[in-house]
C-alpha cells in the first residue's frame, strides 16, 4: 500500500504526459463527467467503450501497468453482486464487474496524474474546510504510520512474533501492535499539527497556485468528454 501511494505521488508530480497539460480542476470535473457516464451506463457495451478509452489514456500517457492493479480490488469486491446477477444474465453480471473496475481505473488515473494537494484543493471547493484539513493531515499521517508499522513489524518478526503457529499469541501481538500504533499515531498527529501550524497551516491550507479561469484546453477536453459520454449513453 505504501509503495503504491509513494509511486502514485511520484507519477502525479513528475510523470510527463499530456494529462499534465490539463488543469487539475479540469481533470476533477472531467472525472466526474466520466464517472456519471459509467454509473448511468445500462449495458456492457457502454462500459466497454469507457474502459477502452481509459486503457488507451493509460497507455498513451505511458503510465505504468501496475496502475491497473488498483482497479483489481473493486473487481473482486463486485463479484458477489455479479454472482447474484448471473441468474438474470451473464451480460448483467459482466456489467456489474465492468462498472466497478472502470470507475476504479478512472479514479486511479486521476490520482496518478494530479498531485494530491490539488485534488484536495478541488474537493475543498465543495467540502467544509475542517474536513479538507483533516483529510490532508490524515493522508500525510498515513505515510508516516505505514513507515513506522513496517519497521515495527520487522522488529517483531525478528523477535519471534508470528512464527509460533499459535493463533492466540499472534492475535495478542497484533492487538498490542495496533494499540501501540494508535497511541503513537495520536502523539505523532499532535507534533505534525504543531509543525504545520508553525509553517502557516491553520489560517487555511493553501492548495496550489492555479488561477480561477478555465482555459480553452480544459473547456475543449470537457466538451469532448460530455459529447462522448452523451453519445455512448444514447447510442448503446
Amino acid at each position: 500500500m505504501s509503495f503504491k501511494l509513494a509511486g502514485i505521488d511520484q507519477l502525479a508530480t513528475s510523470h510527463p504526459s499530456f494529462l499534465q497539460k490539463w488543469s487539475s480542476r479540469g481533470k476533477v470535473v472531467g472525472t466526474a463527467v466520466l464517472l456519471l457516464g459509467i454509473v448511468a451506463a445500462t449495458n456492457w457495451r457502454q462500459i466497454v467503450v469507457f474502459l477502452n478509452l481509459l486503457v488507451a489514456i493509460v497507455l498513451t500517457a505511458k503510465l505504468p501497468v501496475w496502475l491497473f492493479s488498483l482497479a483489481l480490488y473493486p473487481a473482486i469486491f463486485s463479484l458477489p453482486f455479479a454472482l447474484s446477477k448471473l441468474s438474470v444474465s451473464v451480460a448483467e453480471a459482466a456489467t456489474v464487474v465492468g462498472k466497478a473496475t472502470t470507475a476504479a481505473l478512472l479514479l486511479a488515473l486521476l490520482v496518478a496524474s494530479t498531485p494530491y494537494p490539488q485534488i484536495f484543493g478541488a474537493l475543498s471547493r465543495v467540502l467544509p474546510p475542517v474536513l479538507t484539513d483533516a483529510l490532508f493531515l490524515a493522508y500525510r499521517l498515513f505515510f508516516l504510520v505505514v513507515g513506522s508499522l513496517e519497521r515495527l513489524l520487522l522488529s517483531l518478526r525478528q523477535r519471534g512474533a508470528f512464527g509460533k503457529g499459535n493463533f492466540c499469541w499472534s492475535f495478542r501481538v497484533t492487538l498490542h501492535a495496533i494499540g501501540y500504533l494508535i497511541a503513537n499515531t495520536l502523539r505523532l498527529s499532535q507534533r505534525l499539527e504543531q509543525n504545520y501550524r508553525l509553517r502557516g497551516y491553520g489560517v487555511r491550507i493553501y492548495w496550489g497556485a492555479e488561477p480561477y479561469v478555465w482555459r480553452m484546453l480544459d473547456l475543449a477536453m470537457l466538451l469532448v468528454l460530455i459529447c462522448l459520454v452523451g453519445g455512448v449513453l444514447c447510442f448503446a
Partner: protein, 258 residues
C-alpha cells in the same frame, strides 16, 4: 467488519443520492456540533484515527480473512461527532484508491458512522458504570450488530436482491421450500457486505454451506473478533496511555517530547 467495499454502479441512483444527502446533513451538524468542542485542537486526532482506520484495513488478523475497522474505538477516542468526520475521510480516501466507489461514500459513511455513534453512546453513556471489559465487548458487538442489520435491510432490499429469492440462486445445494427465506437472507447479505465477508459468504455457499447457520457463523465470527480486538486494544491503551480513553478524548498537550 461491516464496512462495505461497495463499488460504483451497483446501487440504484436514488439510494446513493439520498444517502449522500443524509451523510451531508449529518456531516454539517457534526461540524457545527464539534465547533463547540474546540475542533482545531482535536483535528489531529481525527486525522490520526482516519489514518489508523485506513491502515488496519490492510492488516490481516492472523490466519482469518478479516480486518479491523476501529469504528467503535474511533467513537470512544474522539467522540461521536468528530468520529463521523473521521469515517467520512476514510471513505473518501478509500474511494480514491479503488476500495469502494465514489458514489457509495454516502452510504458507506452512514453505516460506519452509525457504529461510531452507537458504540460511543453505549460505552460512554448507557453502560458507563459497567466494568470496562463488558462495556467494550457489548458496545462494539451491539453497534456492529445494529449496523449490519440496518445495512442488510437497506442495501439488500434496494438493490432488488431480496426479490431474487424466488429464483434459483443456490450455487451449492438444491433449494427446498423451507430453506427459501434463509437463502434470501444469505444472498442479500452477500450483496450487503460486498467485500471480504461477501466473498466468504459466496465461498461458503460454493462449499455447500448454505443457510442461516453458515451465515450466522461467519457474521458472528467477524463480530466477535472485532469486539475482542477492540477490548484488547482498549486494555492495552488503558495500561499505556489511559488519558486517550477519557470521555473528552485525548488532550493536545499530553505526551510528546519534553
Amino acid at each position: 467488519m461491516s464496512h462495505i467495499h461497495l463499488p460504483d454502479g451497483v446501487l440504484p441512483a436514488n439510494l446513493w443520492l439520498l444517502s449522500y444527502l443524509a451523510a451531508w446533513l449529518w456531516l454539517r451538524s457534526a461540524l457545527r456540533q464539534s465547533e463547540k468542542e474546540a475542533v482545531q485542537r482535536k483535528l489531529p486526532f481525527v486525522a490520526a484515527m482516519s489514518a489508523l482506520m485506513l491502515l488496519t484495513m490492510s492488516i490481516p488478523l492472523g490466519p482469518l480473512p478479516f480486518h479491523l475497522n476501529l469504528t467503535v474505538l474511533t467513537g470512544i477516542v474522539v467522540g461521536p461527532w468528530l468520529g463521523f468526520v473521521a469515517v467520512v475521510i476514510v471513505n473518501i480516501i478509500l474511494s480514491l484508491l479503488g476500495h469502494g466507489g465514489l458514489t457509495t461514500i454516502g452510504i458507506n459513511s452512514l453505516i460506519a458512522g452509525l457504529e461510531v455513534v452507537v458504540g460511543w453512546w453505549l460505552y460512554h453513556r448507557l453502560l458507563h458504570s459497567w466494568r470496562r471489559s463488558w462495556r467494550t465487548l457489548l458496545a462494539t458487538g451491539l453497534a456492529l450488530l445494529l449496523s449490519i442489520s440496518l445495512s442488510l435491510g437497506i442495501v439488500g432490499s434496494s438493490t432488488g436482491m431480496l426479490d431474487l429469492a424466488g429464483h434459483e440462486l443456490h450455487l451449492g445445494q438444491d433449494p427446498i421450500a423451507e430453506e427459501q427465506p434463509a437463502a434470501t437472507l444469505n444472498v442479500s447479505t452477500t450483496a450487503d457486505m460486498g467485500g471480504e465477508q461477501g466473498v466468504i459468504a459466496v465461498k461458503a455457499e460454493l462449499l455447500g454451506l448454505t443457510g442461516i447457520g453458515a451465515l450466522a457463523g461467519i457474521l458472528l465470527a467477524g463480530l466477535g473478533l472485532e469486539s475482542l480486538a477492540t477490548l484488547g486494544i482498549i486494555s492495552y491503551l488503558q495500561k499505556v496511555n489511559p488519558d486517550l480513553l477519557q470521555d473528552e478524548g485525548p488532550d493536545i498537550e499530553s505526551g510528546g517530547q519534553r
